[in-house]
Symmetry: C2
Subunit: 240 residues, 2 copies
DNA sequence: AAAATAATTGTTTAAAATACAATTATTCAG
DNA sequence: CTGAATAATTGTATTTTAAACAATTATTTT
């Protein structure tokens, strides 16, 4: 079959915005770029899309290469296609954002990529348009987490409600009434109470909960409006 | 500066999912493809991204080429990058969705593209993965319109509340109480009441309203939760 | 055994959404 | 003209949900 003539071919890459929660702060995982231009500068983890793989597959591959993790929450965010975004050669980048329990990421001994976690308020300068990507991902996280139960992806399989609350408070930079928070989250029917308590963080101890994977999809919208009026959320309005 | 060696270059296109409302039904604008393969089959309007333009610019160009319209609501939807999605040659497609008042689209005399409006329930088979794109766009429209005042983009500059209501009812395939609907929409502070009434569609006549462009951005979130529990909405969960 | 702490449960108040009824402005048939 | 018909608009009562804040409980430490 004949090819499409006279059209420009270009490079396509994926870049991953990787969020992690360590129980205290929400962090971003970035690497030090290993080649020119911008060698040694901070960058998102990324890679070119190969001949035989889809963008999703490329993102999974790239994420695994850096963290060693599989089965991670990963979602396509936005495609950046400004003709000048990469000074070397025209490259469009399909950005993905990932959510992981940052305790799972143990820095490899070799540390092939010179990766580093940064708290969201202390992110260094990033190459190209990567800062823009991170800002959009941050907004998107707030937006989506106000409507759907995705923040669980940042927690270990067993977690307490106070821990969940502190995650929400970190993401929305605010505080919630603990009584109301607890009832609201339980009323979604998404949590399964465990017999054990966490007694490290308080005297009374807080029960552990697990996410009810069976009801997760079904109740994906029970979370709708979980946070009613998150400050300054508005999915980056890309109307032209 | 040296180029990135040994990476595959590929084609990048944009495809537009164009929704229009004619006062009765929500329709999709598609064209008949003019070249092989799949010549004469129904397709979304699209085009390759040119050397000097961004994806956004390409989408605007493509939309204008078909409809003659500028300043239209246009938003990046999702990037489709399956290696086999186009049988001719590897092409990734950045899909955009557009909202227009379909009365503005007057079929060109020449009708260069053999374009046609189809009601959403009667969309013919489309080439490649275009059907998938349309489905995702439809879900996304429902999702976003439940939270933000974007459906106005489908209406003429002056419209009545009953017309707005019928648009919402068409989009969500349900009915709303007219009294409550009217109050709710007015309480957003986004509408400016006009002096004139539309007396064509009813005896009493319904006042015309215009969108308050000044408050539009500010109140973009006043619409949050406008539709509380839209049936079956859940932004296509693309977690991997 | 009492004090301290933080989780959990309870109660009250306020706000929002929903259902449904009443009123109003207009046209049209007789 | 007059009143029946129609559909928009406004009104009211009920229910649901959220928010504020107080009381109770389980546990550890002194």
């Amino acid at each position: 079959m004949t090819k499409y003539q006279k059209q420009t071919r270009l490079l396509a890459a994926v870049d991953c915005i990787i969020f992690g929660f360590d129980g205290q702060k929400l962090n971003l995982l970035v690497i030090q770029r290993a080649f020119e231009p911008e060698i040694n500068n901070w960058s998102l983890m990324g890679g070119f899309i190969q001949t035989d793989e889809s963008a999703d597959e490329a993102a999974v591959r790239v994420l695994k290469k850096l963290t060693g993790l599989e089965g991670v929450y990963l979602e396509q965010l936005y495609t950046f296609a400004d003709p000048l975004r990469d000074p070397v050669e025209r490259t469009i980048s399909i950005a993905y954002f990932a959510l992981i329990d940052s305790n799972l990421y143990k820095k490899q001994l070799t540390d092939e990529y010179h990766a580093e976690w940064f708290p969201l308020e202390e992110i260094p300068d990033l190459i190209f348009d990567h800062k823009k990507m991170v800002l959009m991902a941050k907004e998107n996280l707030r937006y989506k987490a106000a409507l759907h139960p995705i923040l669980f992806e940042l927690l270990p399989p067993m977690f307490t409600i106070p821990l969940l609350q502190s995650l929400f408070e970190e993401v929305y930079e605010t505080t919630f009434d603990k009584g109301n928070f607890s009832r609201k989250v339980i009323s979604t029917g998404l949590l399964i109470k465990q017999k054990e308590k966490d007694k490290v963080n308080s005297k009374k101890g807080a029960f552990y909960y697990k996410l009810d994977k069976k009801h997760y999809k079904k109740n994906f919208n029970k979370f709708l409006h979980f946070i009613r009026n998150p400050e300054g959320i508005s999915k980056t309005n890309t109307s032209l």
